[in-house]
Amino acid sequence: MFEQLVIGFMTIAEPTNFLAVLMGVVGGMILGAMPGLTAPMGCALLIPFTYGMEPVAAITMLVSLYCGATYGGSIAAILVHAPGTPAAAATTFDGYPLAQKGQAGKALGMACISSFIGGFFSVIVLIFLAPVLANIAIKFGPAEYFALAIFGLSMLSSVGSKSTVKNLLGGTIGVFIACVGMDEISGFSRYDFGITHLMDGISFIPVMIGLFAATEVFRQAEIGMRKVAIDRKISGLPSWKEIKSVKGTLLRSSLIGTFIGILPAEGGTVASFIGYNEAKRFSKTPEKFGTGIIEGIAAPECANNAATGGSMVPTMALGIPGSGTTAVILGALMVHGMRPGPLLFVQHTQEVYGVFAGMFVANLLFLGLGLGGAKLFSQVLRVPNYVLSPIILVLCVVGTYALKNNMADVWIMLICGLVGYKMKEYGFTAAPIVLGLVLGELIEISLRRSLIVFDNNPLIFFTRPWSVALIILTVLGLCSPLIRSWLDNRGNGKGPALSEAGESED
């Protein structure tokens, strides 16, 4: 493993790959700093730029953007009280009050250091855990894969919008979209409505770009012209003593974030709120939370960045996305001919370890860039949405067309953008639909293969140990909103509720 990791670092040291990591981190920080622009949206928009790249450079660029954007969200959360990404919502509780006290530099510095520690910790876990998980999964048959994919879908009950039923319905719609086109087993076409293009099925990428990016353009149209003014002086960094004082919180949040990230469909938003609540629960001075204390920034920022590495574990080892962003990354892996799952570690060892090494480097880069250039990155908040939004839609159209040089994909993207906007109005979010779409094919194929192999006996799913275990986890996953509600109410409801994050799409 260490030998492969060294090779991975050598791969990343190549100028093209290093440049890809750097561009990903910088792009992610810029994107994350802008309220309304999220990591999945950035990744979806970036995929077309990576078509011509080598797989390592392409995937590392996307993963670096994910890491950079997760940290970048704290910049707007601290400076203008508007989280740049949903995962940074908990950072506003103490970040903004600390900035109001004239210590914006210290708040930004703490967010950066905590993000680095969380991110770095989770990459170490990723490196050790993903191959182990892949080794277990390599023995999985279709019954286990079906149970695994259903478990991934069940976790949708607690991601995205506040309504469990709508999350699950969104996931189901995603699975249905995956049914469009040629049936792999019988070879007959379904729901193509006589349109030749639909016989090939609906590609992930146009749907993702439409739901994550085009929808946001229409949402910005609803908001209207917006220009952010930053009148805060950004100077100073946290002292070594202050960093040491939160070491317990950092360790706890790293563990929480990584664990939450590993759970399919859960992402940085959930991690950051649990991290914040747990820091408050363990604190000797919980009453100070929300008034602008360092610990209140360290806990959520460390947890949400720890979720980045964590969510890459099921994505790479099992082919089950750990979050909305990793669902997009999973799509990108497929575009570049790397099918996520246990065989990825056998067939693309060098690329996989290159991505791991790239994540290490990405975390180091945003630490350096964040500590040295937070003031510079905060300037992107000044870019008005009426300038940025049309550019985003232009990139959506051009990027989608570039996928197959086909206007049909552009229309699918635009339709998804319009439908996504309307669905958002009704409380649906994009992440469950995309996760459903990504898992749809796996669910159908594994279900039907299991039934064919075992003579249409559905009891097969209850006779194999891993399958039974995963079905039990699925039931628990469906009950997770109740568990979340219990967690929210812990500490006599003193902690902020996860629902305060609004619509989580990370």
Binding site: V165, S186, F218, V387, L393, V398, L451
Partner: protein, 152 residues
């Protein structure tokens, strides 16, 4: 949001029922006589979708009229959204008819105007510079094909 949600749920239910009905039109193999025909999985998925939609309908019926739409957008916001959507669709037609470069410029300028921005210098600069930069990056650096029309 109650009534609005109810309307949406009923509309979705109708769509799911129609799609379920369409699954009976799929071809069946005369040789393979397993339960897993091409229609099997879509029917399972649509059944789950209909069940979940039914829950939303029941939830909203229980809420009743007291939960009627609280969220209302102002007319200007609705106008901006609708016009932006129409302009985006026209942009889709434009790229294949006029060409990418020209359409991008028109789209960017149009959206800024629709949103109420009236600084002509900024509009002109953004409409001219952005398309050229995007065009050069995709066409010359990334060597990606762009939709071609009668113009550039």
């Amino acid at each position: 949001m109650g009534n609005k949600d109810l309307r949406m749920a009923i509309m979705m239910m109708v769509i799911f029922i129609v799609l379920f009905g369409l699954s009976f039109t799929f071809q069946k193999s005369g040789v393979l006589t397993t339960h897993t025909t091409a229609a099997f999985f879509p029917r399972v998925v649509l059944s789950v979708a209909m069940f979940l939609t039914l829950i939303i309908i029941l939830q909203n019926l229980r809420k009743g009229a007291e939960a009627a739409a609280k969220h209302s957008k102002d007319a200007a916001a609705t106008r901006r959204v609708v016009l932006s959507m129409i302009w985006s669709i026209l942009f889709g037609f434009g790229v294949s008819f006029l060409g990418t470069l020209v359409s991008m410029g028109l789209y960017i300028g149009g959206i800024m105007l629709i949103w109420g921005f009236r600084n002509w210098r900024v509009i002109a600069a953004n409409s001219l510079i952005t398309p050229v930069v995007v065009y050069l990056i995709f066409k010359k650096v990334l060597l990606v094909q762009l939709p071609a029309g009668i113009l550039l």
